[in-house]
């Protein structure tokens, strides 16, 4: 007895309408409470759907339009474990974000809560839909709510520019996706993913490949893969903390989710078993993103931008896992998404605590200011360890699974990339820890971008940090650790990923044929030793990098980093120019590069 899959979509939308209508008459606490209750309802409904869809995916046809023969007349939802899991994650993070904003002084005249609920509804629909145009509509709904929420703090000029850059880049991406959808509609005359997959068969001509290219490009822009990533640091440095949590925690990951969903349901037979040029394209872009994100994360001095670039780096590793493409890799990807989401959200909430207490996000200005904030320091340190991939964080489990997927062909590359990404991103967070909370070394260089977001999010400064700031941060990090102790985690994620990757299963479910359970691949040995080893190596490297950066001036001249490195860091930061025109040019170049990989298939 599962709840209706329409519930996670309809309930937040209805509540948002009610809150928007009554926003000037209801007291603030009532609006906050209603929003939190709706997010809680969504969480329960999605978790229940996850439980119910475990053995058989749930199919739901809106408007009672069942397919006639192969013709799908209406819009269908297909709730499978992977989608339900991401929807649950979205609901959980929204619940925490709304709790964090309880009693927040600037709630945009109570417009913040309805927009968050609309955002939640869009994300839930995005995860569960089986119709290509419906996917696009939810993509746009998600984006519109995100643009509005990003520009919440209108008292400074920066949030509006960051929001503007975000909006322009993502809308260009949406146009690419829509063009691809139009091509697929022209080719098959259908909009339901299973029907398109069935009609395309293994058709391989330029139309299908180009449609795939355009659709993937749009989603990769949302997923902030290099060179489509430029909007993310701008958006994160200006958005309010709870919104940043949602962006990094779930919105970016949904872009990659869509790549896998569309890639298997529609292009499963076309690109049977991920042809090598496409795989290479994903692996190369993923690796490049991981490295660039890590390097830039280390080069930034604005706390939220450090975290934003680390999201980019981890997103790159997620794309790398998708490039590997085997069920074990996607199982690892699912765990990685959850783990990264929890750790990153914990870090963002902690950054929000710092902003509230110390009134700035700039690393040089925060130097040694955090010495009394013991608990916050502990949270930040734990977050840094989690980013580096130290067990017992679930990110270590995920990294282990991904590295050993694909029959070990990518073991070397994956290990090296995870090490680099973990060391750089974890190192950046630990460097901030040492400077801000321990007061070691010196202030460190600042840059123009670190001055963004001087306005704190609460008007009154209090000595005591309220519990509704701490609880989400601590809870996220706790879940990030607890996840790796979930019994049968690997098997559960593997069964979810096998279903996720099976085009036949998708089509069978949509057309209500009996779903065969499908073979479950065998997991390689647990290899806890190597997992711990990799984790320790990453954290060790991260600590070394952090210490090196912090005590840089005091080192003898020979051990400092070369002088031209500082110059190239400045050049690298300037690529992030803040100009939407630059970002769009990079997007075009990126589509061209990705296209060159795809079209080798022809």
């Amino acid at each position: 007895m599962a709840p209706s899959p329409a519930l996670p979509i309809a309930a937040p939308l209805l509540c948002a309408a009610v809150l928007a209508a009554l926003r000037k008459w209801l007291p603030r606490r009532a609006i906050d409470l209603l929003a939190i209750l709706t997010a809680l309802l969504n969480l329960v409904a999605c978790a229940w759907l996850l439980r119910s869809s475990w053995r058989h995916s749930i199919v739901y046809w809106f408007g009672n339009w069942f397919p006639r023969g192969h013709m799908a007349l209406g819009i269908g939802f297909l709730v499978d474990p992977a989608g339900a899991m991401l929807a649950t994650l979205a609901a959980f993070l929204t619940l925490l974000a709304l709790t964090y904003s309880w009693g927040r002084s600037d709630s945009g005249q109570n417009l913040f809560q309805p927009l968050m609920l609309v955002f939640l509804s869009a994300m839930s629909g995005f995860c569960m839909t089986a119709d290509l145009f419906n996917l696009f509509v939810f993509f746009e709904l998600m984006s519109t709510a995100a643009f509005a929420l990003c520009g919440l703090k209108t008292q400074e000029p920066a949030p509006l520019q960051g929001s503007f850059n975000f909006a322009i880049t993502n809308t260009v991406g949406a146009f690419f996706t829509l063009t691809g959808i139009a091509f697929l509609y022209g080719a098959t005359g259908a909009l339901n993913m299973a029907q398109i997959g069935l009609l395309l068969g293994s058709r391989h001509d330029s139309l299908v490949v180009v449609a795939a290219l355009f659709i993937f490009s749009g989603f990769l822009i949302k997923a902030a893969i290099v060179p489509f990533h430029f909007w993310l640091p701008d958006a994160h440095s200006v958005a309010p903390t709870p919104v940043c949590v949602l962006f990094s925690g779930i919105m970016v990951e949904l872009g990659l989710f869509a790549v896998v969903r569309v890639g298997t349901a529609i292009f499963g037979s076309t690109f049977a078993g991920l042809p090598d040029p496409m795989r290479l394209g994903f692996l190369v872009l993923g690796g490049l993103t991981a490295i660039w994100g890590g390097v830039m994360s280390f080069a930034e001095h604005h706390l939220k931008r450090v975290l934003a670039f680390s999201t980019i780096s981890h997103s790159g590793m997620m794309l790398f896992a998708i490039g590997i493409g085997s069920p074990i890799a996607i199982a690892g990807w699912l765990i990685y998404v959850c783990a990264h989401s929890m750790i990153k959200s914990g870090l963002f909430f902690t950054a929000g605590i710092l902003l509230h207490r110390l009134r700035t996000m700039s690393e040089p200005l925060l130097f040694a200011q955090g010495k009394e904030l013991r608990f916050t320091a502990a949270l930040w340190f734990l977050g840094g360890c989690g980013l580096a991939g130290l067990p017992p964080f679930a990110s270590a489990v995920a990294e282990h699974m991904i590295s050993h997927a694909g029959s070990g062909r990518f073991l070397a590359a994956a290990t090296v990339l995870f090490l680099i990404s973990g060391a750089l991103t974890g190192g950046a967070v630990l460097r901030v820890f040492m400077r801000v909370f321990c007061g070691w070394g010196d202030k460190g260089p600042g840059d123009r971008a670190s001055q963004i977001d001087e306005l704190p999010e609460e008007n009154e400064e209090t000595q005591v940090i309220p519990v509704h700031f701490f609880a989400p941060a601590a809870l996220c990090l706790a879940v990030g650790i607890a996840l790796s102790f979930l019994p049968l985690l690997a098997d559960l994620s593997l069964s979810a990923s096998s279903r996720f990757l099976s085009q036949g299963g998708f089509i069978d479910a949509i057309y209500a044929r009996t779903q065969s359970p499908g073979a479950s691949p065998v997991l390689p040995g647990t290899g806890i030793g190597s997992m711990i080893g990799h984790g320790l190596a990453a954290i060790g490297l991260a600590l070394i990098l952090a210490v090196w950066a912090v005590f840089h001036r005091r080192l003898p001249r020979k051990m400092r980093w070369p002088s031209h490195l500082e110059g190239s860091m400045r050049w690298a930061r300037q690529i992030q120019s803040g100009q939407p025109a630059d970002y769009v040019v990079w997007t075009m170049a990126g589509v061209a590069v990705l296209g060159s990989f795809f079209l080798v298939l022809r």
């Binding site: 928007a20 809106f62 609309v118 419906n134 180009v210 040019v585």
Partner: protein, 245 residues
């Protein structure tokens, strides 16, 4: 990146883009020979199944009504977003412009057109299931009618008529009604957004079940939404903002 560099990269990527686009388009069915079954099936069925003569409307509000729910909430979110972005923490009063010195002919003509546009908008809204039209189109026409008041008169008169909290409530009501119509189907035991109201006769205004209801709610939301948008912009540019801080 310098402007010249951008232009070079753009030209270098634009040419392959065009080639790739056309190479894909070459494999589409020839222009003017739409093959796909989806449109034809719905065209042939919608009059009989839903008693509606405007097939596009039937698709929008029934077959693919869930998409339109999302689209309506995109408009809703966007209106909320504009109100959020252009909100003024310290609302001022009294700096509205006092008339725009338009001639009496314009004012009289606009007043006459207001009534006409309003009726036309309602007509389009309610006849969506018969002829091209429907909630979105009709709502925009109604909103334009209200804009005439601002153009002919001044911001004060516009504000007096489009009293702010009521407009917001109406807009949210329109948005909520769509979701409520969907939920009402759940309460009758059918999937979300099923058309369960009596279908009437094709060609009547009161036909096609929930399509007419949804169309009306969308019209309400779009009209109120665009009026709110214009009000928010005008309020910010004329009374509030326009200054550099």
């Amino acid at each position: 990146m310098s402007a010249k560099c951008r232009l070079i990269v753009f030209c270098l990527s634009a040419i392959p883009f065009a080639i790739v686009y056309l190479a894909a388009a070459k494999n589409l069915p020839p222009w003017g020979h739409y093959r796909g079954p989806y449109g034809d099936v719905i065209s042939s069925l919608s009059v009989y199944e839903r008693h509606t003569t405007d097939v596009v409307n039937a698709i929008d509000y029934d077959y693919r009504g869930f998409d339109t729910l999302g689209e309506e909430y995109i408009l809703f979110a966007s209106v909320l977003g504009v109100m959020l972005l252009l909100r003024d923490p310290n609302p001022k009063s009294g700096t509205a412009d006092e008339g725009q010195g338009l001639s009496k002919t314009v004012k009289f003509g606009s007043a006459a057109c207001f009534g006409l546009l309003l009726i036309f908008g309602f007509y389009i809204c309610t006849h969506g299931q018969l002829t091209p039209g429907g909630g979105f189109q009709g709502g925009v026409i109604i909103a334009t009618a209200f804009m005439l008041i601002y153009i002919a008169e001044n911001l004060k008169s516009f504000k007096a008529i489009t009293s702010h909290p009521l407009m917001e409530a109406l807009e949210a009501l329109g948005a909520g009604l769509y979701a409520v119509t969907g939920v009402s189907a759940l309460l009758v035991g059918a999937p979300f957004l099923t058309n369960w109201l009596p279908l009437g006769t094709a060609g009547d205004v009161f036909s096609s079940g929930t399509i007419a209801v949804i169309s009306a709610s969308v019209g309400l939301e779009v009209a109120a939404g665009f009026i709110l948008l214009s009000y928010t912009y005008l309020e910010d540019i004329i009374s509030g903002g326009g200054k550099v801080s």
